[in-house]
Amino acid sequence: MEGTEQFIMGDTACAEGAIACGCKFFAGYPITPATEVAERMAKRLPQVGGTYIQMEDEMASMAAILGASWGGLKSMTSTSGPGFSLMMENIGLGIIMEVPCVVVNVQRAGPSTGLPTLCAQGDMMQARWGSHGHYEIIALSASSPQELFDITIKAFNLSEKYRLPVLVLTDEVVGHMTEKVVIPPYDKIDVYSRRISTLPPEEYLPYVSDEDMVAPMVGIGEGYRIHSTGLTHDKRGYPVITAPVQKEMMDRLIYKIRNNVDDIVEYEEIEMADAEIVVIAYGISARPALKALEMARDSGIKCGMMKLITIWPFPEKRIRELAPQVRGFVVPEINYGQICLEVERCSAGKTEIVLVSHAGGAIFHPNEILEVISRL
C-alpha cells in the first residue's frame, strides 16, 4: 500500500490512514455506513502484526480500545450514529483516564435508526459534549477519501500528543465515495507517539504533567504499578472525592486543550483575500459549497470559504477576527444548525449569519448554497 496511489472508498482510506501511522488494534461493531472501516481493518491488521476484534456492542468496543491503548497499542474504533451514542460513557472514561485512541463516526441521518444508508451531519454537537460532564474534546472532519486518510493520521497524532480520544467525523457520502488517495511511503509520514516517562517507578506519578499540561505515560507490566480510575483523582491517580481535587483535575483536562488550540486547530481558507461573504463549511458540505463559491465568483460576488478541518476545539479566534471584516457568513450543514450556533457565538453580532440547513438523506446542491450567497 505505501508509496502508491489507490482508487479507494473513504472508509477504506480511513483504515489505511490508521495502518499507515501504526494503529495495531481495532475493536468494533458493524454499522452502516462505517462497516467498511472495520472490514478493512480486519484484513489489514493481521498483516501488520495487529489485532482486529469484533466486539459484542459499541460499549465493549470503546472499552476495549481503552484497555488496548493502556497496553501500549495505538487503537481505534469506528461507528455511526446509534453506535456513537453507545460509546459515549466510555469516551468519557477515555477523557478522564486520558487514554489516546481514535473514534471514527461516519455520520448517517438520525435521530435513532433514522436513515441508516444516507448521510447527515447531525452529530457535531454530540461529538462536543455527548458524554456527561464538562470536557474538551478534539474532533476533526473530512470531506474526501484523501482527507479521511490524512485526518485519521492527524487524529492519532493528536490523541497520542494530548492523551485523549480524538474523534474523526465524516459522513456516509465521504465514507462511501471512491476517489484517488495518495498513500505516501510510511517513513515519510509524520507520526507522533505518546511520551513515555523516563522516571523510575518510585518517582513516577501518572498524572503529573509536563509544561504542555500532558502527563507522560508508562508501560503496563513494567513495574510502575499505576492506578487509573474514572473517579475524580489526584496526581497519583487515586480517587479523591472533593471539590478542590475536582478543580485541579478538571483544569488540566480542559486547559491541556484550550492552551494548545493553536497547535490543534486547522482550517483551509479559499479565495479569502478580498472575500466579503464567507462560507463556513465542513465535511461533505464543503464540496458543494466550493462549487457554489466558484459560481458566485463567476457572477462577480466576492465570496470566500473557510473549510473547517478541526471542528473541536472550535476555530473561534479566526472567526472572531473575520466577523467584523465581512458582510456575512453562510453556514451550510446537514442538520438544523449546530456549527452555525458556534459561528454565531464567535461572531458576537458583528456580522450577518445565514444557516443553510438540510434535514439529511442527501447532500446540498450547490445552487442551494449559491442562492443564499447571492441574497446576502
Binding site: 476484534i53 472499552a63 476495549a64 501500549g72 497499542l73 472514561l93 503496563i220 504499578r225
Partner: protein, 288 residues
C-alpha cells in the same frame, strides 16, 4: 523481585501481611465493617502472592460497585473502569499484553446484570482472563437494589414486597457460555477459594470464580439475615461441596442449600490459540 513471605511479615506490628500488594496509602478502605468483599480481596492477594508469578505480570481491572473498588486498593497495574465494562476493557488490555495475567475483580451487578453480555461473549471467545465475582446478591454500592442475581422472593430496596423475578445461576451461565474454569465458594471456604483463584490464574482460557458473599449493610439488613458473622456462617453451614458436578445442578438457594466446588476445568483453545492458527507468522506479542 523478592517477595516477603507471609510469615516474615506477620511479626511486623502495624503492617498488613500482604502490604507489598496493598496501596496502604489508600487506607482506610470504603468497605463497611463486616463486609465480605475484604475476604475475597485478601484471598485474591494471597493467591497472587502464592502464585510465584512476578507481580509485574498482573493487572487488575474492576467495574463499578463496592466490589469494584478492589482495583484501587491493589498495588499492581490497576484500572477502575465503568459500570459493566471491566471485561471488554480487560479484553483490550489482554490483547495488548498477552503474557500478562489479567484479573477482573467486580460485583454480581457489574459483571452479570449491566455487564452480562460482555461476560458471555468473553467466555465464548475463551479470552484468557480470570474473573472473580463477589456475588452478594445485590447492588451494594447504591443501597441494595434488586439485581439479576437476587434470589427469588428476597427483599431489596426496589423489591419491597419480594423479588418476583428469577435470578441467574452465574456458574451455570459461565459454563454454558464456554468458560474453561468455573468454581464457586463462600467466603468461609478461604483456603479452597484461594486455591481456586490460583488455579484460575494458571488456567489457559476464561476462568470464573464466584464467591458467595454477604453485604450485611444492604442485603443482610433488608432480609433480616442478622449480624455479618451470622450471615456467612449460615452460608457456610448450608453449603455442600460437589466438585465436578454439572453447573446446572449447582443449586444456589440461600435459605436451603448452596452447592460449592470446582465445576468446570477443561481445555479449550483460547482466543489467542485460534488466532495464531490463522495468523502464525506476523503476530508481535506484547508490542509496545
Amino acid at each position: 523481585m523478592k517477595k516477603q513471605g507471609l510469615k516474615e511479615l506477620n511479626g511486623m506490628p502495624g503492617k498488613h501481611p500482604l502490604s507489598d500488594l496493598l496501596r496502604d496509602d489508600r487506607m482506610p478502605h470504603i468497605w463497611c465493617p463486616g463486609c465480605d468483599i475484604g475476604t475475597v480481596f485478601s484471598s485474591c492477594l494471597t493467591a497472587i502472592h502464592e502464585s510465584n508469578i512476578d507481580y509485574n505480570n498482573f493487572a487488575v481491572i474492576s467495574g463499578i460497585g463496592c466490589s469494584g473498588r478492589a482495583a484501587g486498593y491493589v498495588k499492581l497495574d490497576s484500572f477502575h473502569t465503568t459500570h459493566g465494562r471491566a471485561i471488554p476493557f480487560a479484553t483490550g488490555l489482554k490483547i495488548a499484553k498477552p503474557k500478562m495475567n489479567i484479573i477482573v475483580f467486580s460485583g454480581d451487578g457489574d459483571l452479570f446484570t449491566i455487564g452480562g453480555n460482555h461476560f458471555i461473549h468473553a467466555a465464548r471467545r475463551n479470552m484468557d482472563l480470570t474473573i472473580i465475582c463477589v456475588n452478594n446478591f445485590t447492588y451494594g454500592m447504591t443501597g441494595g437494589q434488586v439485581a439479576s442475581s437476587t434470589p427469588f422472593n428476597a427483599r431489596t430496596s426496589t423489591t419491597p414486597d419480594g423479588n418476583f423475578e428469577r435470578p441467574f445461576n452465574l456458574a451455570y451461565m459461565a459454563a454454558a457460555a464456554g468458560a474453561a474454569y468455573v468454581a464457586r465458594w463462600t467466603t468461609l471456604h478461604v483456603r479452597r477459594l484461594t486455591n481456586s483463584i490460583l488455579e484460575a490464574f494458571n488456567k489457559k482460557g476464561f476462568s470464573f470464580v464466584e464467591v458467595i458473599s454477604s453485604c450485611p449493610t444492604s442485603f443482610g439488613r433488608k432480609n433480616k439475615l442478622g449480624p455479618p458473622l451470622h450471615i456467612i456462617q449460615h452460608f457456610h453451614k448450608i453449603s455442600v461441596i460437589k466438585n465436578g458436578i454439572h453447573p446446572k445442578d449447582a443449586n444456589l438457594d440461600i435459605e436451603k442449600e448452596i452447592v460449592v466446588g470446582k465445576f468446570v476445568d477443561i481445555e479449550r483453545p483460547t482466543f489467542f490459540d485460534l488466532w495464531e492458527e490463522i495468523y502464525p507468522p506476523k503476530r508481535e506479542k506484547g508490542a509496545k
